[in-house]
């Protein structure tokens, strides 16, 4: 995988929240979803995902319970709580403002 990028601080949480916004997922599914949709751009170790998930559980953004995966295996499923949804909304807005601002500056004409 050529040209992998390090993830900006805190970005992983947003990606995980986003992944969970479509419904309950287990960790592996989230990892796959992020990998598929970023065309493998980010250099994320799978492990980091789990600390992120557990921390979200602690913060009350997600709840976890054991369930059965599509392949019939026991797996731990995470689901967003209302607090988690609110957090996603907040972070999404903030992210968009950030990207727009950066893009705006990058596209600005040379200083007079």
């Amino acid at each position: 995988m050529p040209d992998e990028l390090d993830l900006l601080q805190g970005t992983l949480d947003v990606l995980v929240l986003r992944a969970l916004s479509h419904g309950p997922r287990h960790g592996y599914a989230i990892a796959q979803w992020i990998q598929d949709n970023s065309d493998g751009t980010f250099r994320i170790l799978d492990g980091a995902l789990y600390t992120s998930l557990h921390r979200m559980e602690e913060k009350g953004w997600a709840e976890a319970e054991w369930g059965t995966s599509e392949r019939g295996k026991r797996a731990r499923f995470y689901e967003l709580t209302p607090a988690g949804r609110a957090e996603l909304q907040l972070r999404t807005t903030r992210w968009e403002r950030y990207v727009n601002a950066v893009a705006h500056v990058m596209a600005a004409p040379a200083p007079a």
């Binding site: 796959q32 789990y50 026991r74 731990r76």
Partner: protein, 884 residues
């Protein structure tokens, strides 16, 4: 999203399952990845290796995840616990609000119990537990000589020197002598306690001056110029806090140069204000003149007993060497703390114990009313149990209620304590409460909180267990009519019996004190206190350098008083009755064999008096004549003796005309005196002390110590009203004398004030306990009657006589009361033994007192059960049966 969290498959508390959980989750991920890669055509091994690489450090990640989750679960559990607590407290509030009468009664009962305990404890805390204001006070001890007659006396000077030089138990030993006298040179002439101390004193007490210096070593020498240090308080109040001590001179017997100020709070002994080198007094080489008080500091780790043994051993060879000029047989070493707490120790601990019993009575009372309520609430609890509340949960709920009541009781109790304490201070004998008052400090607060917890446990836990133990099915079937099961009736009986027993014990105890007090007030003191006013006439040595000037002062004052209006008789003496036990001095009775201890024949207390002193004090003359104005210096020496002394020295003979003299007191041989009169025995110290033999000289014939005399005036009307006139007459002669009047009745009352205090407090505890017992009996009998209405109705319907039914109900109650009385009686027989030292004229197990206590309880018990039992006779059978 309102999805209920499924029951967690793993227990919350242990860490290991969390660990397994995390391991399983991470392993699953790696397995998924491996499978995925294998599906893409990787070999099993390569796929697994790649999956692990892509994951990162499994162990570290697992650790992190586990840590987060454990933390999370812990905090969730705490939240849940708090949530439940808040719920319980809210619920308990609602329950208590629903029955305000019960709540109020319970809170007030507890407030009384906790309030009484807190008040007594805060006095104990202030008086007994307050640390002495010295460095390592536990090491400080007082040292006494044990005399041949068994008493403890101060030390003879050479004996002090020997002990100090030889004893290895001490880190220092100092001599001192303390007295109150008039001091001139401060802003006003004042009566001040001053203390002569030996060189070791300040080092031993570990006290450093806050200003100036201590007396230098060479100032602790016979003949050195007199220097003194003063207390911080004296420096502030009397010297105006001056920074310049250089020309501050204070005059009493000596003319002191003030050289230093001691730190605030230091006032050993007895709030002394002035300290100076003891060598000023010169030296007395006699080994039987007990002039030195001694204080010592134990070496770390040694006990007073160690020192006592060592000094006893040192005394033996000294005794062999110095007899007959030696009257010690050993030493007595007592911790300073014990002496400072003094006579208040026993009454205070007794009251603390008694207030504990009172609190126990309050708890028992509450426990039984909680049980009554519990039965009424059995239905509600049964329903809650049926819909899934666990037993632990119910216990907690009921206990929360108890705890809430206890906390409310504690809060109210603190208010009660303040009120009670104010009352105690009014009642308390002078000196009971230290100068700062009994502080309401953290220790007191902690004590009452501890009591609260304890009471909640006592009166709350038992009913909580009982109530939650009710089987839902049984309780619901019985509806609201929970006929008290046999088991809970037995429990109630026990509680009522305990209340009765506690009341019996407190009644017996206070009855004994009451009888002691009555016996004491019946004692004939040997003088008539009514109408007598007294004042200390303390003539400063500086103003009266020659003792004859003091004699002249008293002569002049008494001559003026002889014709004063309102004065029946006036006199002076060196020591009033009740003023304090003084050591007996040696005497020589003509014609009697001398004692082995020395060339004297016995001991008696030395006194001086003016001619009309006995008349003024109302001490009856039993034989002979009083002193008169012709018994002056130069006339033949005359003595008046007490009846006890006459009977001891001349049994069966007429004491009038016999000869005896003081031995060695004023130095040198003195002529024999002739006994001219015999008076009644009078108490020297406490009125209950054995009357000791005493004798009086006319002060003009034996003017030793005549500078400090007490004026005694018998008045026609109110003695206190005469004080201004007396004050003016004294000040006409010497305007600088500080004067303070006290009536003899006040003195008499103050000597028994501590007894009255103990008696009143204990009696009020007993009354409250009796009241609680009555309420308890009343409550339980009423409740029993209410519960058994149906059964009684059936009995009456079947032809039972209503009065017989009433007798049956009351008989059961009286049986319980009887059991309580027996148990309480036994407890009182054992318990009142600790009071022995506080009793007078009555034995701890006094049958008459106990009889009255038992009778009182039987009466109260009868009335308290008769009232509700009467209702049982009035039950209408038809209505009683239909009511269900």
């Amino acid at each position: 999203m309102t999805r209920r969290r499924p029951p967690d498959p793993l227990p919350l508390s242990t860490q290991k399952p969390v660990d397994e959980d995390v391991q399983r989750e991470l392993a699953q991920h790696i397995e998924f990845r491996t499978e995925e890669l294998m599906a893409e055509g990787w070999t099993a091994e390569a796929a697994r290796a790649e999956a692990l690489r892509a994951f990162g450090d499994v162990a570290t990640i697992a650790d992190e995840c586990r840590e987060i989750t454990v933390r999370d679960r812990r905090s969730r559990r705490r939240d849940e616990w708090f949530g439940a607590l808040i719920h319980d407290v809210r619920f308990a509030f609602r329950i208590l609000r629903r029955s305000p009468a019960f709540t109020l009664g319970a809170v007030l009962t507890l407030a009384l119990g906790i309030g009484a305990n807190t008040a007594i404890f805060s006095v104990v805390n202030g008086v007994l537990l307050r640390p002495l204001p010295y460095d390592h006070p536990e090491q400080l001890v007082r040292v006494f000589e044990t005399s041949e007659r068994g008493g403890a006396s101060d030390l003879a000077e050479p004996n002090f020197d020997d002990w100090r030089a030889q004893a290895r138990s001490f880190d220092g030993m100092a001599a001192y002598g303390s007295d109150v006298g008039t001091l001139l040179g401060a802003d006003i002439p004042s009566r001040v306690r001053s203390t002569a101390v030996s060189a070791d004193f300040f080092r031993l007490m570990r006290v450093q001056p806050v200003m100036g210096r201590l007396p230098a070593p060479d100032e602790f020498a016979v003949g050195a110029p007199p220097v003194a240090v003063v207390s911080y308080r004296f420096w502030q109040d009397r010297l105006g806090g001056t920074r310049d001590l250089a020309d501050r001179r204070l005059r009493s017997e000596y003319d002191f140069q003030v050289v230093g100020v001691l730190p605030q709070g230091f006032g050993f002994p007895d709030e002394s204000d002035l300290w100076f080198p003891i060598e000023l007094f010169g030296r007395n080489e006699s080994r039987t003149a007990h002039n030195y008080s001694a204080v010592a500091r134990l070496k770390p780790g040694l006990t007073p007993l160690d020192a006592d043994r060592e000094l006893d051993a040192l005394t033996e060879p000294m005794r062999a060497q110095y007899l007959p000029d030696f009257d010690a047989v050993g030493a007595t070493v007592i911790p300073l703390r014990e002496l400072e707490a003094g006579p208040l120790r026993e009454p205070l601990f007794l009251l603390l114990g008694a207030s504990g019993l009172l609190l126990l009575a309050a708890c028992t009372n509450l426990a039984s009313s909680m049980l009554v309520r519990g039965s009424a609430r059995a239905h509600e609890l049964a329903i809650r149990a049926a819909i899934g509340a666990g037993r632990g949960r119910l216990v907690r709920q009921v206990f929360t209620e108890s705890m809430l009541i206890a906390l409310l009781g504690c809060a109210a109790g603190l208010v009660v304590a303040q009120v009670v304490e104010r009352g105690l201070l009014l009642l308390a004998p002078a000196g009971m409460v230290p100068i700062e008052g009994a502080p309401f400090d953290l220790r007191v607060l902690g004590f009452s909180l501890l009591l609260t917890l304890l009471t909640a446990a006592l009166f709350g836990l038992l009913p909580a267990m009982r109530m939650s133990g009710v089987r839902p099915a049984t309780a619901m079937r019985e509806g609201t009519r929970h006929s008290g099961s046999r088991k809970s009736r037995r429990l109630w009986s026990t509680l009522v019996a305990v209340e009765v027993a506690l009341a019996v014990m407190l009644l017996c105890g206070s009855g004994l004190l009451l009888r002691s007090f009555a016996a004491i007030t019946r004692i004939d003191p040997g003088f008539r206190a009514e109408g007598v006013i007294t004042a200390l006439l303390d003539l400063p040595d500086a103003g009266y350098p020659d003792v004859q000037q003091a004699v002249a002062f008293h002569d002049r004052l008494l001559a003026a008083l002889a014709d004063a209006p309102g004065v029946v008789a006036a006199g002076v003496t060196n020591q009033l009755p009740l003023e304090g036990n003084q050591p007996s001095g040696a005497i020589q009775v003509e014609g009697k064999p001398t004692l082995p201890a020395g060339p004297f024949t016995g001991y008696a207390i030395y006194r001086t008096a003016s001619p009309r002193y006995f008349e003024a004090m109302g001490i009856p003359l039993l034989a002979g004549r009083p002193f008169n104005d012709r018994d002056r210096a130069g006339a033949p020496r005359v003595v008046i003796v007490t009846k006890g002394l006459a009977e001891r020295e001349w049994p069966g003979e007429d004491p009038i005309g016999k000869h005896f003299r003081v031995y060695g007191m004023d130095g040198g041989e003195e002529p024999y005196g002739t006994v001219i009169g015999v008076v009644a025995d009078i108490p020297q110290g406490a009125i209950t002390d054995a009357r000791r033999e005493a004798y009086w000289y006319p002060y003009s014939q034996n003017p030793y110590r005549t500078r400090s005399m007490k004026l005694v005036v018998r008045t026609a009307g109110d003695p206190a009203a005469l004080a201004p006139m007396l004050s003016k007459m004294v000040h006409d002669i010497d305007p600088t004398l500080p004067l303070e009047f006290r009536t003899m009745e006040e003195r008499l009352a103050s000597t028994i004030a501590d007894r009255r205090f103990t008696m009143v407090v204990l009696a009020s505890f007993a009354v409250v306990a009796l009241l609680l017992a009555a309420l308890g009996i009343y409550g339980v009998v009423s409740y029993t009657v209410a519960q058994r209405t149906r059964e009684i109705g059936i009995r009456i319907a079947l032809g039972a006589e209503p009065t017989r039914v009433q007798r049956l109900v009351q008989g059961g109650a009286m049986a319980v009361i009887g059991t309580g009385i027996v148990v309480g009686g036994v407890g009182a027989v054992v318990g009142t033994r600790v009071m022995r030292a506080l009793l007078y004229g009555v034995e701890p197990g006094d049958a008459a007192t106990f009889g009255v206590a038992v009778g009182l309880l039987l009466l109260v018990g009868f009335l308290a059960s008769w009232w509700p039992a009467r209702r049982s006779a009035g039950i209408d059978p038809v209505r009683a049966i239909q009511a269900e």
